[in-house]
Structure formats: structure tokens, C-alpha cells
Amino acid sequence: MKRPFKTRVKTLTIDGMAVGAREDETILELAQANGIFIPTLCHLEGVHDIGACRLCLVEIKGTSKLLPACMTYAEEGMEVITDSERLLTYRRQVLDLLFSERNHVCAVCVSNGHCELQWLAEKLGISHVGVPYLYPQLAVDASHSFYVLDHNRCILCTRCVRVCDEIEGAHTWDVMGRGVECRVISDLNQPWGTADSCTRCGKCVQVCPTGALFSKGKAVAEMTKKREFLPYLQLMREGRK
């Protein structure tokens, strides 16, 4: 959500590079605008950020805490580091924990080769998962006539929840439970196919970064997602206002 104040320009450095930023710009937006890569998973262009995945953590001089770039706004004189050994270690740990919590088996996943989690793991050089797998027994919800929800591959980024709420306006999805018990649910925790609020638009499926939400009938490695619609939809809506 953008802050409602008047835009003023701030000057700061990212990885030693002097940059100018609007006051309502996050470090993540600023980095992306300047061609600096910061890994993200829960961030989705077109819906508001929640800072859940912690992959975009950056170092800021003067504070010992690591801050999520998607939720931190540019300030005058900031010195931001987006890439360091310390950050890489933490980011890898985040991915380690994501992999170990559910049953992510890339080889037999519908999204194999088109998965943001898989792509990031490769990019950050994860060859092994350093913590033991939990192997939870999670059922697949195939009750919907068009789509399937496989909790085994869900990383709880809540992109589906936000796109359904903010763009489609249906708010079919939400989350329940805490910690490892946390699950994405449809309507009142009922099978997706019986959720009256679902308009079957499929936005949630397209924005899901992994193979947790996919079109029915897709074989392994066949699920490619189309995300271009989202910034376009938002642009058109803003234009109408």
C-alpha cells in the first residue's frame, strides 16, 4: 500500500551506487528500477506487499536488523546492501525451510521448469536442503472443475489470497492455522469446488509461484503460468478512476 503523502525525492546508495528515489518507493522497487536483483517470492507486482517470505532481506547501515526490501521505504542518506555473504546465508536458510516444510518434489511436479521456488533455489546455489524434511501428509484438493490445489507445494506466499481479494474482489482464499499448521483455505475451509464465492477466473492459479495451484489435466512440467495480465489489469483500473 502506498503512503498517501506528497512525493519528494530522496538520495541514497544501493550497493555503493548513488540513486534517487521517490519517497513512496520501496527499496525493492528502487533496486528493480536500477537493475539490481533482489530475490522475492511473496512479492507480486500489482497487489500489496506483506513481507512474508523474507527473501528480499537487505542490510541497511546503522541498523543491525535485516529489513525486507519490499516493506522498507527509501530514506535520505540510506546505505543499502542487497548482496553479501550474510544475506546469502539467510536467504538460503529461508529456502531450506520452505523446501523442508512440505513435499516439494520438482522431478514430478506440474510446474517443473516453470517454478519460481525452483528457479530461485538454483539461482542461489542450493544443492542440498540442510534441515530434515517434515514429510507432512497433505491431501490434494481436486474438487474444482478447472483447477487443483496441492498443499504439498504451497509455500504460503498468499499471492492467491491477495489477488483474489484485491483484483478479482471475490476473497475466496484466506489462511488458517499458525506455524506448520498454517494452510490456505477456500471460503469456510471447505473443498474449493464447493466454494460459492469462487468466480473460476483462475487469477490465483496464474500468480501462484509453484505448482500448488494448477490447471486440471496438466501433466508433469506442463504448467506454465501467465502473469502479464496483472499489471495490465491494474493499469486499466487506475486509468478509469
Binding site: 522431478a107 514430478v108 506440474v110 490434494v140 481436486a142 489435466g217 496438466k218 501433466a219 508433469v220 506442463e222
Partner: protein, 474 residues
Amino acid sequence: MSQTITIDPVTRIEGHSKITIQLDDAGRVTSARFHVTQFRGFEKLVEGRPFHEMPSLTARICGICPVSHLIASAKTCDALMAVQIPPTAVDLRQVLNLAQILQSHALSFFHLSSPDLVLGMDANPEQRNLFGVVGQNPELARDGIWLRQFGQEIIALLAGKRIHPAWVVPGGVSAPLTADRRDAIVQRIPDALLRVRRTLDWYKQIFGDFGAEIRTFGNFPSLFMGLVTGKGELEMYDGNLRIVDATGRIVVDQVDPRTYPEWMGEAVEPDSYLKSPYYKPLGYPDGIYRVGPLARLNLIDRVGTPLADEEWAEFRMLERGATLSSFQYHYARLIEMLFCVEKIDQLLNGPEILSDHVRAKADPNRMEGIGVSEAPRGTLLHHYKIDRKGLMVWANMIIATGNNSLAMNKSVYQVARHFVHGDRIDQGMLNRVEAVIRTYDPCLSCSTHAFGQMPMRVQLLAPDGEVLHELKRG
């Protein structure tokens, strides 16, 4: 004093296993068993998964024959969808399956078994491997490597990658074949034919040197089972099952594979993770049957391609009726390689092979499906049950190697009885016990490919567990 000899692990096969040989007081073999020591659990772990994932999921059973599982599984899924897939998709799946059989047979014959044939069963184990073959008969080794590569490259050209491609999907295949890829395969066919025929000529010259092995390597009467076309020709993808007996007489013909539960039983042995299927009308264990190259060539009326038919006619002269010695699996494998190359050529020159209508789409329409195809090692059967949402509730798979379980045990016993004597153990004798298993080219999984470097330990044990004699290699 009775003794037990254990060969653990058995080398130059796909997967992990061991052999135990029991000797009596006089040092004679009283029993021999082939144990599969690894457990996979695929039938259980697929439960709850969407059936569309099954082809690729079950392909992960094996890295040598993933294509075979893709084919059998996709056929099962076609049955669940109750669709007839486009004819071009059938042809493309057939080419893929034949390429798979070609590359796997090349691996079995050249890489795994030719060391025994070129260097002899008693050769030093340090030389008795593919590198030894390269030294002794480089042309043979080159042909073997070339043919395996050719099979693998056909798979990669059709399906995108050599191992575990995801191209075969329920309802057909996911992408059509392009003209340049077709041409890339077709132009190498003459070379492939030359190399297979050269190897066949070589094999026909040397197999006479293995008289003792041919007499004792799984040389016993049994049934033989495999798919045949409606005309009784060799069939790897579709068709119905035929069973012949040891004299070559047809026991049953054109049996719909979907009726298998009525006439096929699966026995469980306490000392092996491999189940032992048998032909129910003859009971267990008398319903022993063999599958794979030898079985297929024993039960057909003709092969169906010109060059392979000529070779097959010669093969049939080996014995009156069916050829019973499992040693001749090697021979049968070479003839099948010839058939694969010829058939691939025929299919790729078909008028509709480049059609882009290669996939049928449907929701699940049947709650139960059975799919059968011929894998390199024999008849492969997948059987699934799903719920109305398309999620797997039950699976049974009868793997090609499993069909040969009883026959492999019997063969090990036969070889051990002939070659193993309690007063001495030597490498040649142990190698023969392994080599008979290798004739079946068992694929116990994709996990290990050893070229003789794996350590092998054989112990002679007294009844009280005392180690009387120990032999190590590797």
C-alpha cells in the same frame, strides 16, 4: 557340514540384489536363491496424486527404462479417460518405445554382458568389463556405444531429453514431431542396421564356444508370455497377450491384458522384495513363465520386418519348439534390436507422422484402467483405480523383471548346481552365477550401474555361523 555361499552384491545389473547358495554336508548345492534387497514402494506413494502425473511419476521408478513406464502408464491413463488417442500419437509413442528398447538392449548386451562373451567367463574380473572389451574387440565396443547413443538420441529428439522426458502424456504426446528431427533420425538408420547386423554375425560365430553355459543357464521348460499383433507378429506397444509352452505350442492366444487378474497370480517370497507372478491355471510355482526378448521370439509367428524375419528364422532353428536356454536371451536381444531399427524406419516414413494432432483431452471417465506394453525386459503392466476427482486411490504394477522372478531363481539354482562345488570356490564359478542373472537383464531399479568395480564378498558359512572360507573382489 552344510554351508551357505552369499554373493552380495550381484554386479553388472540394474539395482541391488544378492544370491545365496546352500550346500549340504558333501558340498553339493541343495538350493540357491536370488534376493532383491531394495524396497521402492511406488504403488503406495502414488496414492492421492492426480492421475495426470502418473506417467512421469512412475517413470522415476527407473533411469534405464523410464520410457517403458511412461508408455504403460500413459496407456493406463488413456483407459481412465476412455479416449482413443490420435493415430500419430500412437506412432510417436511406438517410435519412442522402440528407441528405448534399442538403447536398453544395447546397454545390456554390450556394456553389461559382452565382457563375459568377449573375454570369457573365467577372465580376470579386473579386465572383464567394458574397457576390457575395448582392448580386445574395439569395433564391437564402438558399435555398442554407438547403438545405445542412437537409441538415446531418438528419445531426446522426440521427447526433449534422454532420461525422464515428460513428453508422453495421458491422451497422447505433448508436442508433434518436426521434419528436421525426423530426418535426423532417418538418415542414421542404414548405419544402425549395419552395426546391429555386424554384431549378430559376430554373436553367431562365438556362441558355440559357450556350450556348457547354454546347457545350464536357465535351460528348463517354462511358459513364455508376451504381446503379439492380431497376425501373431512381434508387438511392443499394443496388441494382446499370447502364452506358449516349452514345446512352442500356444497355450492361450489373443488374451485381453485387462483380464490379467483372472489368470495371473502374484506370490510373495519371504526373502525378497520382488514379487513372483505365476500363471494361475498351473498354480504356484508350476505356473512359471518367462518374458522378455527370448519369450517374445519364442511365441510369435513371425517378426514382421524383413531383416529381423530372416534372423528370426535362423534363431528358430536352434531348437525344436521354443528355445529354452536363457543364455539365448542375448541372441534374441540382438534380433529385437534389428526389429527396432527397421520398425522405427517404417513408422517415421509414415504419411501422418508429422501431423500436429497428437493429443486427446478428456476428464476421467472410468474409475479403473489397465495399460500393458512391452518393455525391454518383458511385459509391463500398470493398473490404476481413481476417484471421481481424478485422484489415485490404488495402483498395481507388474514390472517386466518381476515376471521373470521364478525363472531367475530356477536359473541360479541350475547354474550353481552345475558349476559350484563346496571344495573350491573361484571367480569363474561366481561369475557364472551372476552371468545367468544378467541374461535376464534384470532391472531392479535405476539406482546403480556397476561395471565390476563393486566389491563382491562371498562367504562360506558353517551352520554355527563360523566363516570357513572368504573370497573378496573389487
